[in-house]
């Protein structure tokens, strides 16, 4: 049944776009955060459709797990006033809409003109081993630099969130 992946693609695309629009358009920021989790889960399903199972697992762990929890915590810690009107538009939302729409039109025109030459060849069934080889072989130095970046971000986030009271 060849149409199964197409069906899943349209289903996941509808989920992703609808929940992304809900993230942007809803007025309650807690609802926005929950729809953001739904968007991340939809993107993880798309990765499974693209034969990237390891990336789908990483997406679920990092985005739908860690990043969503961080954002919900930030919402909780910066809550003030009415939660039902906590996610409003700012003064220049019309300009933002025009810019985003123009960018989407440009992207669609540009990618629609391109004729991609797909290389024939089937993807291997499981590519976790290939990803491991790439990380510890060809991309070993960026891998280590990413580790240092994560450490720096962690220390920086702790320092920033702790505040400047220890200065005086």
């Amino acid at each position: 049944m060849p149409d199964m992946s197409a069906l899943f693609f349209w289903l996941l695309a509808a989920i992703i776009i609808a929940s992304a629009l809900a993230v942007v358009l809803l007025k309650n920021i807690v609802h926005s955060a929950l729809y953001l989790v739904l968007t991340f889960v939809g993107v993880a399903g798309l990765y499974i459709l693209l034969n990237a199972e390891f990336l789908a697992a990483v997406q679920l762990l990092v985005y739908a797990g860690a990043v969503a929890i961080l954002i919900v915590f930030a919402v909780m810690l910066t809550r003030r006033g009415d939660i039902r009107a906590s996610n409003l538009f700012n003064v220049n939302y019309l300009a933002a809409a025009v810019v985003s729409l123009a960018l989407f039109i440009v992207i669609t025109l540009a990618t629609g003109r391109m004729a991609w030459t797909a290389t024939p060849g089937q993807a291997p069934a499981g590519n976790v081993g290939a990803i491991a080889d790439a990380f510890l072989g060809h991309f070993a130095i960026p891998f280590e630099i990413a580790a240092v970046l994560l450490l720096v971000a962690m220390v920086g986030a702790i320092l920033l969130a702790r505040g400047g009271k220890q200065d005086q």
Binding site: A6, F9, A13, I17, A20, V23, V24, I29, S32, L36, T39, F40, L46, Y47, L50, N51, A52, L55, V58, Q59, Y63, V67, L70, I71, F73, A74, V75, L77, T78, N87, L88, F89, N90, V91, Y93, A97, V99, S100, F104, I107, T108, W116, A118, T119, G121, A123, P124, N127, I131, A134, A146, L149, L150, V152, A153, G156, A157, L160, A161, G163
Partner: protein, 102 residues
Amino acid sequence: MITLNHYLALGGLLFCIGLFGALAKRNAVAVLMGIELMLNAVNINLVAFNHFLEPARVTGQVFAIFVIVVAAAEVAVGLALVLNIYRRRLDSNVDDLDWLRW
């Protein structure tokens, strides 16, 4: 038949929704949510290129993992900044963060 162009259009649409959220929202946490949507759109493009153009290698997936690493670092530091600003100004409205303006 789903082609590469379908995935690119989906990524472009998601990127533009995220851009609209990052530009048009008043709450700083919502701006960070928009940036996360944009990074996810980029990852969809990278993985789709990997799948359709070079299926035997995993370079696109490796790049997507690096993007996820940078996004995690960015959201941690960004939310710490938002918390710090909120503690000083009791506000997370990006329209009011204008004390660098002259």
